[in-house]
């Protein structure tokens, strides 16, 4: 039994690290730009497709492909900000439609890149080994999954340093928590929207890229991620990067444990109900701030 519990903890840790990557990106974008980016799941999907294409068609090494995928998706984010979201400043609904339009387009492009049949793609994991953790036989973590944790922690750590140790990061946080006040202080919303979008998209692309060897890579793979990410950033409190990380860990641990010890359907229903409960008790999430007058 102890083995099962420990193994489940290890499983949950992997799930929470990539969920956190996606959720943190979504928080940045929503916080700074006020846009509900429905295409965020598709950015994640694009990261995964990029890794698939670069490793299988062009034969690039995995880590290089991951780096390229992150840059590519960040670039897509930049294009989205400049061409689609910027003209919609002050029109969040217009922004929402832009993101839905992008969602449709990215899905079809991925379908075509993959040969047009909707068949899932598979990325062969570069690392095949399995490591025993806690020195207990039966509690294992594949190296590939350790890499997911490692890369996620490194990226999130880097982001934390950037946000808390640089002036630019401080300004970005100010934007995310309160764009209007930030603008009043002379912070350029244009510049920081672009930065938020590049970072947010890049993180989503990174999540897709590192998960590519662990999941079937298919055009619809973004759906589930976006729903989980929305739940996580709501529970964590919009605008709070730390809240998103904490909520990602809480949610995935809950989900993984219920799935293991009861079943997956019950885990989904309970997850939704608990989220509702959190919102009823704290309508602005764990780390959220109350709405200003």
């Amino acid at each position: 039994m102890l083995e099962l519990i420990l193994q489940t903890c290890v499983n949950a840790l992997v799930a929470s690290s990539f969920t956190a990557l996606v959720a943190v990106g979504l928080v940045l974008i929503f916080g700074v730009m006020g846009i509900v980016n429905f295409a965020h799941g598709e950015l994640y999907m694009t990261g995964a497709f990029a890794v698939w294409y670069l490793t299988s068609a062009l034969g690039w090494p995995f880590l290089l492909a991951v780096a390229a995928a992150i840059l590519l998706v960040a670039a897509i984010g930049a294009v989205m900000e400049r061409l689609l979201f910027r003209p919609m400043r002050g029109n969040p609904l217009g922004g929402l439609i832009m993101s839905v339009g992008t969602l449709f387009i990215l899905q079809v492009l991925a379908l075509e890149l993959g040969g047009g049949t909707g068949r899932a793609k598979h990325v062969t994991p570069p690392w095949r080994g399995v490591i025993e953790v806690f020195g207990i036989e039966g509690v294992t973590v594949p190296v590939q999954r350790l890499a997911v944790i490692g890369i996620s922690v490194a990226l999130l750590g880097g982001l934390w340093l950037f946000l808390h140790r640089t002036r630019m990061g401080w300004a970005l946080r100010a934007c995310a928590q309160d764009p209007e006040a930030a603008a009043l202080q002379g912070i350029s919303i244009d510049r920081f929207s672009l930065l938020a979008m590049v970072l947010g998209a890049g993180l989503a692309g990174a999540a897709g890229a590192v998960m590519a060897p662990l999941l079937p890579v298919e055009p619809s793979m973004g759906h589930s991620v976006i729903v989980t990410a929305f739940i996580v950033i709501i529970v964590g409190g919009i605008g709070s990067v730390e809240g998103a990380v904490i909520a990602a860990i809480l949610y995935t641990f809950f989900d993984t444990f219920v799935t293991t010890f009861l079943d997956g359907t019950i885990a989904s229903i309970l997850g939704l109900l608990i989220m509702m409960l959190v919102l009823v008790i704290r309508p602005t999430g764990i780390m959220g701030v109350r709405e200003k007058v």
Binding site: L4, G115, A120, G138, P216, D255, T259, G264
Partner: protein
């Protein structure tokens, strides 16, 4: 990667338009050459695209072959085959809209559906007396007299895999099951329960998941393996779920037997695990270049040629639906030729007249009254496919009718438990 923007289908439609115009012209004295249109009503965009689109490609290859040989001779006339597609988005209302267009505008004589959303077109089909096929007999009930399942009788063929396993590895006594909580997973669960019970194999744990997208397969696999089963049974999990659970079982050190309805991505899963790990994995869908597909009992024109043409045109796209829709067309063509007509009700009558029809894997028998409420499912032999040295290999064709004659009561018991009998499906 394809380059043309659906050019083939655009041309097809234009040609159909010209054909319509030509039909109005007086016939010259030559032998009548006509076109029969077949509707293809399945998902062609969205999440279920891989259940529809690859099937249309298969049908088009089949039609090209038939048309290249001059067409089908039916009742003294020669018919070219043309497929008309409609994206039903896997929804009931879109399916109804599509069925109306196909029947009333395009005047198709037969509609191929994936199924699952048949309830939306049921009234219309009954009223128009249109012949419709499905891959999912769980759409069937006493109220669906014109709905047939001439190829895939999901999930009943799964009994053949279990039977073969029990015969060849009698020492295996316990099984762990994972299933999707949906209209594919539940009837399949009932079938596997019946099949395992028939062989005296005990199911030690069953784990459900709601949908593939949000399920955590790492956790599910951990829970399944914690029950220490001899057999890990993947029910009718989606293709992605099968890949992920298999890979997880490998990573978490599972050493036992595996059995599944499908293993669409055998190649990729083998790459992610190992040939040794995959050795002996049992599933139910063969490649058509398998030597066993050359046997006389197979009712499919040049299976290997079809397979080669398909994978050449659509690399990496071969799956069950690639050949299942064309296989239905083979059964349909046989009945149309017997009937001497392409009219839906005449074709249906010809199919059912003798109680048997050619099924892709052998002589088929129309069955289903006890379990489906209507004898419109064509059951025959079905291949038990086993992974050997990294390749899916047909180990044996086993008879579904034989199993049913012995164990139908078990199947009914478990279907009833899971509320899958026609009178329980509201």
């Amino acid at each position: 990667m394809r380059t043309s923007l659906s050019r083939r289908r655009l041309l097809g439609t234009t040609a159909a338009g010209l054909g319509l115009a030509a039909a109005g012209l007086p016939r010259l004295g030559r032998a009548a050459e006509q076109t029969v249109r077949i509707g293809f009503l399945a998902p062609m965009s969205g999440d279920y695209v891989d259940w529809g689109l690859p099937g249309l490609y298969g049908c088009e290859i089949w039609a090209e072959n038939v048309n290249a040989q001059g067409g089908l001779k039916i009742g003294g006339d020669t018919y070219k085959i043309e497929f008309v597609g409609y994206d039903d988005e896997a929804e009931t209302d879109k399916a109804l809209q599509g069925a109306k267009k196909l029947v009333l505008e395009d005047e198709v004589k037969f509609i191929l559906m994936l199924g699952g959303n048949y309830s939306g077109v049921q009234n219309f089909v009954n009223q128009e007396k249109m012949l419709v096929s499905t891959l999912l007999p769980s759409d069937m009930s006493p109220d669906t007299p014109y709905l047939i399942a001439p190829c895939e009788t999901h999930p009943f063929y799964n009994v053949t895999g279990v039977e073969w396993l029990a015969k060849n590895r009698p020492e295996l006594k316990t099984a762990a099951m994972v299933y999707p909580d949906d209209s594919l997973g539940l009837p399949s669960l009932a079938t596997y329960r019946a099949a395992f019970e028939a062989e005296g194999i005990k199911i030690v744990t069953e784990k459900a998941y709601p949908d593939e997208a949000s399920a955590d397969f790492t956790a599910l696999t951990t829970a399944l393996l914690a029950a220490k089963p001899d057999i890990l049974c993947l029910d009718t999990c989606g293709a992605g779920a099968v890949s992920q659970i298999t890979e997880q079982a490998f990573l978490q050190g599972y050493k036992g037997q595996m059995i599944s309805c499908t293993l669409d991505y055998y190649k990729q899963v083998t790459e992610k695990t190992s040939k040794e790990f995959m050795e002996g994995f049992i599933f139910q869908f063969p490649n058509f270049d398998d030597p066993m597909m050359q046997k006389d009992q197979i009712n499919f024109p040049d299976p290997k040629g079809f397979y080669d043409a398909y994978v050449k045109k659509y690399p990496d796209a071969w799956s069950a639906v690639s050949w299942e829709y064309p296989a239905i067309m083979v059964t349909w063509a046989d009945a149309a030729q017997k009937a001497g007509s392409v009219e839906p009700m005449k074709v249906l009558e010809a199919m059912k007249a003798s109680g048997t029809s050619p099924h892709v894997f052998g002589k088929g028998e129309w069955w289903g009254t006890e379990v489906l409420g209507v004898d419109n499912a064509l059951i025959a032999d079905w291949p038990v496919v086993v992974m050997r040295d990294g390749m899916p290999t047909i180990a044996e064709f086993r008879s579904i009718p034989d199993w049913m004659s012995k164990h139908t009561d078990l199947l009914i018991k478990h279907m009833t438990d899971l509320k899958q009998m026609p009178d329980q499906r509201a």
